[in-house]
């Protein structure tokens, strides 16, 4: 699975006359955790949803395996039933604390439910939109461990985030998105370090 790759060439996307993505070219590889970083409105969610095939690109090509699992947060979950009902529809085993109705859960709990389902599906390509948002510290730690072990097993993981600390801790590659600037995928090895350095990330982010 580590030879899985997701290649994007010249990707462009606009909402009406407003361009959101232009000339995005990058190759994400299996066995690595890639991060999408950029200011609000830079097109992170649009890029992930386009990679997943949920939105159509206006220009460029995407070469990827199918299916791609995209998870975008608590407000994308179905409205009825319990966590175990949801897991059943996805072919996942029930969990001990999964009997509560989804409508009774808090935003953070819902996010954790969706995240747990997405991770348990173990897709070859996993796209996560701001996965650390609204998670408790323990849940963040658990998420990081799961992502690292999935990547070690060869899964291709791309996360959009504002959280440079988490990127510094577990990220392998990073794509900075800014309006009007063709983004460049930076890989950890170029920085000659075991992990990405937070200060270096912040410097690149501000560039």
């Amino acid at each position: 699975m580590s030879d899985t790759s997701l290649a994007v060439r010249g990707l462009g996307k606009a909402y009406g006359r407003m361009p959101v993505l232009s000339e995005v070219t990058a190759t994400f590889r299996g066995g690595r955790i890639s991060a999408l970083v950029g200011p609000n409105g830079a097109g992170k969610t649009t890029l992930l949803r386009t990679l997943a095939g949920l939105q159509h690109a206006d220009a460029g090509t995407i070469d990827s395996p199918k299916p791609i699992l995209y998870y975008g947060g608590f407000d994308t979950l179905p409205l009825h039933g319990s966590e175990n009902d949801l897991r059943k529809t996805l072919g996942l085993p029930a969990v001990p604390d999964g009997k509560r109705k989804l409508t009774t859960l808090s935003r953070g709990q819902l996010h954790a439910v969706g995240l747990r389902a997405a991770l348990d599906l173990q897709p070859a390509v996993l796209l996560l939109d701001e996965p650390w948002t609204a998670l408790e510290p323990d849940a963040r730690e658990e998420l990081n461990q799961t992502l690292v072990s999935l990547a070690a097993a060869g899964h291709l993981i791309v996360c959009s985030t504002h959280d440079l600390d988490e990127v510094a801790r577990i990220g392998d590659d990073i794509l900075f998105l800014k309006r009007g600037v063709p983004p460049v995928l930076r890989v950890r090895e170029e920085h000659d370090c075991a992990r990405l350095d937070r200060n270096e990330l912040l410097r690149l982010y501000r560039q």
Binding site: L54, G72, T76, P78, H80, G91, A118, P123
Partner: protein
């Protein structure tokens, strides 16, 4: 994650139910109608009214809001599980349109006295024409809008002199005079149960069914081509 098609369709069906694509009132109402029809038939009567009520309800039941749900991102996990857009559309169409029509049409000979082999086909056509059109328009919110408009038009058609005249020409040409092709088409879309009357030509019925089928195909194309931008773009 690759699974056989029946498994994916079953998953899609269960997931769409959780996502709220299928109105909860439909199944209990259909079961109640079936029980009523069985009771009437067992008592030696004819239960055309059960068929009539089912025909009125089907266009409402066919509204799923599927594309709106996908635009909100509520089907993201389903698509990520390997279910395609067409499979999700197919699961919704089967559940809200094809299956109810098939069941009602197959049971219809039990409800109609003097039913012939053509009776189920004509009933299927009467249900399919408004059902398919309302299914297609009901893929986006407000999902019951066209069914409400259709119901209102139907009421106006039946109480207005002009509409009543068209209706009578179609169902009893021997007393009200012959119906023109446009009369037949208008009556068939406004009051689809006119297909039960032998005065309506088979060609007209085929034209109505073909039109509804084309609308259905267009809705499938819309499902494939729509951008599902997530809750931020919904």
């Amino acid at each position: 994650m690759t699974e056989r098609l029946p498994v994916r369709l079953a998953r899609a069906n269960a997931y769409l139910r959780m996502a709220g694509a299928f109105p909860a009132w439909v199944l209990p109402v259909l079961v109640a109608l079936a029980a009523y029809a069985a009771f009437v038939v067992r008592s030696g009567g004819e239960s055309r009214d059960a068929l009539f009520i089912a025909g009125l309800l089907l266009p409402f039941a066919a509204g799923t809001g599927l594309i709106s749900l996908a635009r909100e991102g509520r089907l993201d996990l389903l698509f990520g599980r390997g279910v395609s857009r067409m499979e999700a559309w197919g699961a919704a169409a089967t559940r809200t349109l094809i299956l109810p029509i098939a069941v009602i049409a197959l049971l219809s000979p039990l409800c109609v006295e003097g039913a012939t082999l053509l009776t189920p086909l004509r009933i299927a056509a009467a249900l399919f024409i408004p059902g398919a059109i309302c299914f297609a328009s009901g893929l986006v919110q407000p999902r019951y809008a066209l069914a409400v408009v259709w119901f209102a038009c139907r009421a106006v058609f039946l109480v207005s002199d002009a509409g009543r005249g068209v209706y009578l020409r179609v169902v009893s040409p021997e007393t009200a005079g012959p119906a023109s092709p446009s009369d037949s088409l208008i009556a068939m879309f406004a009051v689809p149960e006119v297909v039960m009357f032998s005065a309506l030509s088979t060609l007209t019925i085929i034209a109505g069914v073909a039109t509804a089928a084309l609308v259905l195909i267009a809705s499938a194309m819309m499902m494939i081509r729509s951008d599902f931008g997530g809750h931020r773009a919904a």
